[in-house]
């Protein structure tokens, strides 16, 4: 049976995180999931709206929930920041509070789902158990969820905000030797990447160090902002610290595509700053 859901990609997936969108669409197709992009979706307001104007922050995200409500299918959100903003607006709409510039009725007969939660708890491993062509046995990732799929749980409805498991479970089911670590939801520096790059790099460096200490050979992520912070600054972090960093940062969906033998994997990985291909060739996965 074909599973259907609406998709809210978010602005980054059209640019910086293009390979996240490409790999998501490809693995969804492999698993017979029909993801329909929301009509005329616009920005959720991200961190800038809630810092500046509470009403704007709720209304921008609520606009897209109204569209999703009309579509009537669960809404899958790959970006952690978009997910959290949409959940804030969802709570607001469900409580029947007024929203600036929006008068539409809201039934709310659908769920807003972070991608790892959707993949593990709704799609489930049965959907991909026959699709795995290259089990990831030789790979030892740590899973990094970042802040906003987890926190705050009163908004995100996260089952386990201090130690989420969905990505770990998905990758384990694909054969990966997933490493445990205590930094799954520690902040990477988020939106400080342009305003205080010194602080952002300090936070991201800690994560790279801790992944190494956990014995990981790569970091699996589900957030475009986390990916950007961890992937594109390693050269600069190496220069500043005198320690050399070259840790591949891979989207969960790219790793799924790798296990499914997707022909486009190399194209996706070619978009990253740290090239994961030599490590994957060494592991016999490419």
């Amino acid at each position: 049976m074909i599973m259907e859901a609406s998709l809210y990609p978010g602005c980054s997936l059209e640019g910086l995180a293009k390979s996240y969108k490409e790999s998501l669409q490809s693995v969804a197709k492999t698993m017979d999931i029909k993801l329909s992009e929301l009509d005329n979706w616009t920005c959720c307001g991200a961190s800038s709206a809630h810092v500046t104007n509470d009403k704007l922050a709720v209304a921008l995200a609520a606009k897209d929930l109204i569209t999703a409500d009309k579509a009537g299918k669960d809404l899958v959100v790959p970006c952690a920041a978009c997910f959290q903003r949409l959940k804030v607006a969802e709570k607001h709409l469900k409580d029947g509070k007024p929203v600036a510039g929006i008068t539409d009725r809201y039934a709310g007969n659908f769920h807003v789902k972070a991608l790892p939660d959707f993949l593990w708890n709704d799609v489930g491993k049965k959907a991909w158990k026959d699709k795995v062509k290259k089990p990831l046995n030789a790979l030892s990732p740590v899973c990094y969820y970042g802040c906003l799929t987890a926190r705050p749980p009163k908004v995100t409805d996260s089952r386990n905000p201090e130690d989420p498991q969905e990505m770990d479970n998905v990758l384990r089911s694909l054969g990966a030797n997933v490493r445990n670590w205590s930094y799954k939801t520690d902040c990477c520096g988020g939106s400080l990447t342009l305003t205080r790059p010194d602080l952002q790099m300090k936070l991201s460096q800690k994560l790279l160090d801790m992944a190494e200490e956990a014995g990981a050979d790569c970091i699996a992520v589900d957030c475009p902002m986390c990916h950007e912070n961890l992937d594109s600054k390693q050269q600069e972090i190496s220069q500043e610290s005198g320690k050399s960093y070259n840790v591949p940062i891979l989207y969960l969906t790219e790793l799924m595509g790798l296990a499914f033998g997707d022909p486009d994997v190399e194209k996706w990985l070619g978009r990253h700053t740290v090239d994961a291909r030599p490590m994957l060739v060494e592991r016999g996965l490419l």
Binding site: L16, S48, H50, T52, C147, P161, T273
Partner: protein, 188 residues
């Protein structure tokens, strides 16, 4: 970052606390200074007033110290404090309220590039409906540090471009988004 020098004797004044409570909808006086927010905060090391002390300052009425602090602009909204506060104070949301009060009262931000960034980001949404990352980042860099700042990021930008990660054309403007901006920015 230097730790802020705070007054050693204060005559408590509840008017600022009331202003923040009204704006945020949070009950700040329930803070009993357990320091859980500060202990979990990934950026406390870079703040001039640690999060639990900031809550105390609000409760005591130290408005100037709070609104001029680095803390309110350095907080990355990771929501660890909100998640762990035993009294259910949404501290990250209180930070948002403090930033909004500070900007609303025309106070010069101690980290002026942070509100400059948010303005560039929101302008991009208002104009195109979706954020156009390339032009937003360029606008921010020019406004915060001039041409030199923009050029310092040029190499990274070119690399992203070569890897197909820069969206060239912005999205079509959205009437509904512009309408939302007008409604949300209307003064009550």
């Amino acid at each position: 970052m230097a730790v802020a020098e705070l007054p050693q004797t204060v005559v408590p004044d509840s008017s600022f606390r009331k202003q923040v409570e009204e704006k945020s909808g949070e009950n700040l006086s329930s803070c009993y200074l357990c320091e859980k927010c500060t202990n979990g905060c990934p950026l406390a090391f870079a703040m001039d007033i640690a999060p639990h002390k900031l809550m105390r300052c609000v409760n005591l009425g130290l408005k100037d110290e709070v609104l001029k602090s680095d803390t309110i602009w350095i907080c990355a909204s990771c929501e660890t404090c909100t998640t762990r506060c035993p009294n259910g104070i949404d501290i990250a949301h209180v930070m948002d309220s403090l930033r909004q009060i500070s900007q609303g009262e025309g106070i010069k931000a101690s980290q002026p590039q942070v509100p400059t960034f948010h303005k560039a980001f929101l302008a991009s949404i208002k104009r195109f409906g979706r954020v156009h990352e390339g032009s937003m980042a360029a606008t921010y860099l020019l406004r915060s540090g001039g041409l030199k700042e923009l050029m310092s990021m040029a190499r990274m930008g070119l690399d992203m471009f070569k890897k197909g990660r820069i969206k060239i054309l912005p999205s079509r403007p959205s009437r509904k988004v512009k309408q939302i901006f007008r409604a949300a920015e209307r003064k009550e």
